[in-house]
Symmetry: D2
Subunit: 364 residues, 4 copies
Amino acid sequence: MNFRSDNTAGASEKVLAALIAANGGAQAAYGADELTKRVERAFCELFEREVAAFLVVSGTAANSLALSCVTPPWGAILCHDESHVVRDECGAPEFFSGGARLIGLPGIGCKLAPETVATHLARLPEGSVHSSQPAALSVTQATEAGTIYSLQELAALAEIAHARSLAVHMDGARFANALVMLGCTPAEMSWKSGVDVLSFGATKNGCLAAEAVIFFDKEMSRDLPFRRKRSGHTISKGRLIAAQMLAYLEDGHWLDLARRANKAAERLEHVLLSVPGVRIGWKRQANEVFALIPHAVHERLRAADAVYHPWSPEWLPPTAKPRPGETLYRFVTSFRTSFSEIEALGAAGQAEPSGARRVKIRRR
Amino acid sequence: MNFRSDNTAGASEKVLAALIAANGGAQAAYGADELTKRVERAFCELFEREVAAFLVVSGTAANSLALSCVTPPWGAILCHDESHVVRDECGAPEFFSGGARLIGLPGIGCKLAPETVATHLARLPEGSVHSSQPAALSVTQATEAGTIYSLQELAALAEIAHARSLAVHMDGARFANALVMLGCTPAEMSWKSGVDVLSFGATKNGCLAAEAVIFFDKEMSRDLPFRRKRSGHTISKGRLIAAQMLAYLEDGHWLDLARRANKAAERLEHVLLSVPGVRIGWKRQANEVFALIPHAVHERLRAADAVYHPWSPEWLPPTAKPRPGETLYRFVTSFRTSFSEIEALGAAGQAEPSGARRVKIRRR
Amino acid sequence: MNFRSDNTAGASEKVLAALIAANGGAQAAYGADELTKRVERAFCELFEREVAAFLVVSGTAANSLALSCVTPPWGAILCHDESHVVRDECGAPEFFSGGARLIGLPGIGCKLAPETVATHLARLPEGSVHSSQPAALSVTQATEAGTIYSLQELAALAEIAHARSLAVHMDGARFANALVMLGCTPAEMSWKSGVDVLSFGATKNGCLAAEAVIFFDKEMSRDLPFRRKRSGHTISKGRLIAAQMLAYLEDGHWLDLARRANKAAERLEHVLLSVPGVRIGWKRQANEVFALIPHAVHERLRAADAVYHPWSPEWLPPTAKPRPGETLYRFVTSFRTSFSEIEALGAAGQAEPSGARRVKIRRR
Amino acid sequence: MNFRSDNTAGASEKVLAALIAANGGAQAAYGADELTKRVERAFCELFEREVAAFLVVSGTAANSLALSCVTPPWGAILCHDESHVVRDECGAPEFFSGGARLIGLPGIGCKLAPETVATHLARLPEGSVHSSQPAALSVTQATEAGTIYSLQELAALAEIAHARSLAVHMDGARFANALVMLGCTPAEMSWKSGVDVLSFGATKNGCLAAEAVIFFDKEMSRDLPFRRKRSGHTISKGRLIAAQMLAYLEDGHWLDLARRANKAAERLEHVLLSVPGVRIGWKRQANEVFALIPHAVHERLRAADAVYHPWSPEWLPPTAKPRPGETLYRFVTSFRTSFSEIEALGAAGQAEPSGARRVKIRRR
């Protein structure tokens, strides 16, 4: 019962098969191969316009490369205070950009409100040489809290950003999970809502290691090939990354995988809420469930070998703040999560009838 | 007939099988998994001592991360002028180190002579705040010319470096090919010869994307986990890199692959030299053949769809400088290169009997 | 009536005279001169211990060089959200450190409370490769609000920092103004209170352009000479910086200048408070007065050509938040500020008797 | 008898007087003052066109800021192998540019020949992501060997650079000395010869600490204000730098100072050559004399307290290579060098009549 992250699964069967198929023969190295060209075309089709697409092997690389193309070293990048770029990348955006600054802003459910961004921007004097210069707004879709911006919310944020000439970056590590929830097109959830550059995640949702940086304005991507090479992310056997991505995109495979993960999370939320004492932190939207769990329930889950992470309660809505004895935990599902695992989790969470504990211990 | 690079092949069957096997189940992300721990132990055994080993997906990342741990931003890294770190990484060592300087030194056959290093070091005043501070010596084994340093040569270079407190880095993108040629142990060709940190290449010799940075002094590696994460090279599904490396190292598989590639190059050298007019640039030692090829022969090879790269004649020995009508070309073999491809190349290079050209054109 | 900054004055007569005297003859360049050596000794005496002292020409350089010696590129520097290093240096600490992160913390009167630092540190997991690593705490004395940490407060902050192995940096752009207010020794307000490295300001208080970075642990300063040279701050005619600093320190000249500035501010506070409607933002402690000024008063002051800056009310105590019609302004005095200027400001602020306005206009 | 450098003198009387005059009153800080504006206009007049001029306090800052505006982090800067930017700035250009690479090229007399630049450029593939991208050519006028490019030579170099879209930077630490020798206008020796950005030196020739970065294309300078601030080079009491530069430029003062220094060097060359056994390394053109001095003569000069630097013979013309017993030394004159010092040097160099040595020793 591993609900730690969607990173704990491997690749989907289809993606793995494509990798195996691509392994034979000789192909040009460093992304000059046929499969890489096909991926580039696939992204143009997917987004219904010309895009510049670049494959890399990690979300951190995708985010940092994307941001480094839209901010000077003295630039400031506005984002949510809990976002991956601020909290979980060991300063990668600073490294890739040559020292730009990340400004973490508050927001319930890890979502940025347009007024929060507007207020903060108003405090940063335009063009004053003493200040870092606002250069980009980075939003995460789905967010670190598993919440999702509506298309209207995205557009409102982008409008504020663009009015001050900030580029809009979307960290789409869970782009697919958000997309199937919103039920819109990739174009609608990106450039049609004002996104300038997208980190298109695929690793969490079924690839081994494959992400793409997608620029909707090719001019903006001019430096990327140099930045990618210079950071060691121009993989020599590039076709093996391309093969994964092609299979991932083909015939809506990526959307199927995301739907599976979301459905598992939906069931997980239901099952968790059926355990007495468990409350929800944020309403589930994608493939993550955040639950406030009483200590005794947590003990039972752990005893049953369930694994999942505690989470910061900082951005919970006021009504959902942890009460004494409760802790906020994150449960993540992936395309691989089975319903039987979920049911087992639910069963383990229920108060044990007498004797049950003995049985469990024996099982181990 | 692709002799462009050992990067054009995919993974070996064994490596691919291991990857497939590791794909199932759930495993901790970001290198906290079991397979990664096993790789670390495997490297300790391989090198007959405690080492700190870190997996990455590209040789550029391995080299730059290694160098960034042994040079301050104001440091200078001495290396051969033709080395990969200077010529082929778009300034990655400068990026990772925060602006250190690469100093390319001359040397026949892309090998550094101890006196060249000593002379250059003598020109760099010690401790003067006006100068970049010599911090590391980087040698490539096998070199970009496919030549190999003997253990004595390595030790002599390391002695000079260590006398000025420089760290010794080895770019071992073709470590295996050099090792099987020298017939010594990994320990002998690295730390026993004075190497402090090694880029242990596996991608060119049978992995999809797997390299390791090996520190023989753990203290030297203290910063590496942060530098790796910060550069986007801490792969989330890290077990899939580890699985490749484990299979690569297991039962001497990596040495078998290298022997196969070297043997193919040996045959290729023989076959090329049997073509009238073809001369050798540097004596083949590993899996690369550098040949001076008359224009007419080159035309015939190209017409037969053979692919290979022209190469700079700068570091040829005086006796092997290209004569009018000759060009220096590089041919690389891999574990996948078949003897029939080699024979076909040889046949294509031979002067055609009348009528042959017509036949070939028809074939296309 | 210029109350914009203590940067608007030139040098004191004594400092200027010393500069003139040092101008003749030939002296070794780049800080190898006699005067520079004398400054180094003077700082050892001043701080009653061995210190490593390095002269530079700007506070931004002093702060950034100091911080870059105590944080790795993936380090985090905790400081007040309003501090100069965060707000007014265009990302210089990020630049000099190779991309470290500044974390601005809240605090009334621009002062950090120990518990604020402790709480934030507790949120940053120790040693996790995903997070920036807390490396330094930077405090400003006197603060941007002109407030002053007591020795006990400094020691409490340093204790928390040192417990997590953070270095303590003090931005002492107004070190002298704070010192004469506290009436303690330089040693007490620095290393005896736990400060590891100090930006010792002199420009605002009587020099043309002279600041010093003072390390109380020489080992910590090992890289500074290279960092200083590499950033263009190793001035060729270094003796002319040294001459300023020597005169500044000699016979307590620096303390006299600071006392003069503080006394002017004391008077200014009194005069401003005597204007009906004016309230104080923070209690004056050094040479800065922050006043909440009604619009009509402000209009009269501006009409009389008084210059001063509006200031962010963010860190005002709850009891002093601006009421409708009030704005927070900063008034800074220097050693040059004359009492007659202050009285003129007070007079201008008073409600005008009929006819007064006409007179003023005529004067212009 | 100090011939070590033109950095050993202080400021000229006129420059010092201007500094003293500017010291009074209150002025806007950080370069927003009146004097700074006047300097900007003065440079426009001097160069007979619109320029963007930025004051800094060191030549290293001027060079590095200039170069950082014309090269991306993955750029390469071509320059002479002996140039200050490569040899004497501890990697400052790498630091300011975020890791660009300096490529030192050979050339007799520290001058670059057009064909050397052209040949090297031809070796750097255009647009290949694997290579650093040629971005700038940096020439030094007068060079480190005191030699001077003719206008034709400058134009020829610039033509080659511009053909590959490289920006042309001139390190003019001794711009004045070169200018009075060539007898041309500042415009002719800069933008009319193809220079895009100039480090205009004034410190060595009569200022305390004042240099300017001059852009002939304002667009190119767009980032400079941020880069300057961020590197700690936006001096708070900026008017005191401006005052120096204004006095320096006024009424041709700077040219008078340079003529004086050059004339002293002319005399020095004559005097040195009159000492038996002394030979010239490079023909003197500006204010530096490079002489091959027999050991015995050197001993006599040192005994007489003459100070001057040994110099690398690497770029001497073949005909002037040091013979056994000779060493190459550099003698630099400044506007302050007196003819009596020069005569004393000459006298000291002459073989001593018997008894002379005793007298000298007594003198000490």
